[in-house]
Symmetry: C2
Subunit: 303 residues, 2 copies
């Protein structure tokens, strides 16, 4: 087994992922848990991190690079924001060291868009952008779907602007906490592709109708029947279609986008984009985070 | 005191309102409670109704006219739907009698739009439309804001088509159950008119950005500060502006609309419509329901 060079951690709001990595970037070990910022805030960030390092038998002097909500004000140590336009090379350069730690632990900053007409913040996605595009990226429009989906315009390694859409969180509360929860109750894992695609197109074509298209999930089931799975995909398709109506403004529908996603999100966004005939370059979200952390580690410690 | 002619009941999902009315339509007594369909389903509809009739000393032979969710499948007695195009005169004509009741109790039907590309249902609002416009209405576009806002196109007394927007319910879950709940925590009753109007205009102008404009409530507060009240009005304005972007399609922004609303909803929709320079004819929602029930009672019992 190769000797580990550093530890990479993607520490989100509700998830924790850790990789033990050799200097060349190969993964030697991995840990994942639900001890995100919320849980770790109670347990203690240092305690949570050390328990996972111990489980992998990581050496005491191994440095640790962290991205995500651990760097938020309510996280471990506040890592601040880089303002747009933000070159991705400044992300590792502006990492913040955890004071008083027994080993070298650095937390990467987020990016802020201090524009009063379009204020926005990201934390964690800057590392995925770095991993997905590298430091000298060509022009790319990147979509990173999730609880709070990010759309970023990157030119020559610089994040020029970005926008966050509450799509994932809206899906969660609309399907669980509104009258539509009855329509989706008992939905099986099976995805209703047809219902999803129709909903994407309807919301993309007439985004102003979003709140009406959502209610149609109920009235359609009431008047015509339909499965809970179809209802769930219709809610999902409506909200993703609404996001795409904004994200694909201008000539992006023709020039295409870079999709950074995994699992079901990857499948559904890819399907939505294909339905709208948008060229897609797809990159795995977890791989992008790990690669971004590795690039930051290389830049900081010259491994 | 005049002698009562009938009892009118607006029985919603979560609210109950009852009026004791003389044959000329004057209100002799009134009751209101939270015993809507949900609560009454457990207590028993007949029991709830009788308790309010007893409280007002209503005679045993007094007939009762009811609109709203008491006529839903999960209500007291299912009163079905009239299909669009639906003349408002058919609403009382299609009332359903409660079987086995000691007095004459009728429940008004809802209206259904059996159009697979725009399925929709209303129950209760048909009575408000009747009360607001009468049976021979001129052309009107009517907005009835609420948990599930209704927009109806009425021509010569006929509801030609309508659409439901989940605006009120979205406001409720977005401001209580998402990350934005932190931004609005501690909001005072005071309304931030400026924040509301800006949000209405932004969402009306670019409805596709709705899920982004919502997230801006958080990022704006994070980067620039701002009161919880401003955050709440910004969420409200964004969702109302999104609804208006669809509701005011075509030449409605010039020709104007009829607003059937009360209280805060009336104020905020009126303000939003004025901000967009839309002519508004405003009618109190509760008054519209009571008048609609009275017109139905007159039509059924020829009082």
């Amino acid at each position: 087994m190769n000797k580990a060079g550093y530890v990479a951690v993607d520490w989100g709001t509700s998830s924790f992922r850790l990789w033990l990595v050799d200097p060349a970037g190969s993964v030697l070990g991995e840990r994942r848990s639900q001890e995100g910022m919320m849980a770790a805030g109670k347990l203690g960030f240092a305690t949570v991190l050390q328990s996972h390092l111990d489980a992998l038998g990581a050496a005491n002097d191994l440095p640790v690079i962290i991205c995500g909500m651990a760097g938020a004000r309510q996280g471990w140590v506040e890592a601040g924001y880089i303002d747009t336009p933000a070159h991705l090379a400044t992300v590792p350069a502006r990492a913040v060291a955890v004071p008083g730690a027994a080993r070298d632990i650095r937390i990467l900053p987020g990016i802020a868009q201090r524009n009063p007409t379009a204020p926005d913040v990201m934390r964690g996605e800057e590392t995925q952008l770095l991993g997905a595009l590298g430091m000298d990226a060509d022009n790319a429009v990147v979509c990173i779907p999730g609880t709070h989906s990010k759309w970023a315009v990157v030119k020559g390694g610089t994040v020029e602007r970005f926008a966050t859409f509450m799509t994932g969180e809206l899906f969660s509360v609309v399907s669980r906490e509104t009258i539509l929860s009855h329509a989706v109750a008992g939905a099986e894992e099976a995805e209703d592709i047809g219902a999803f695609k129709s909903a994407v197109v309807a919301a993309f074509d007439t985004p102003a109708l979003a709140a009406n298209l959502l209610f149609q999930v109920r009235s359609s089931q009431l008047l015509y029947g339909g499965s809970p799975s179809a209802a769930r995909e219709r809610i999902s398709g409506t909200l993703i279609g609404l996001e795409l109506a904004a994200g694909l403004a201008g000539d992006r529908r023709r020039s295409g986008i870079t999709l950074v996603a995994s699992g079901r999100l990857q499948r559904m966004y890819q399907l939505a984009l294909e339905t709208l005939a948008v060229p897609v370059r797809s990159i795995d979200a977890e791989e992008a985070a790990r690669r971004g952390l590795s690039m930051a580690a290389q830049a900081i410690w010259k491994l």
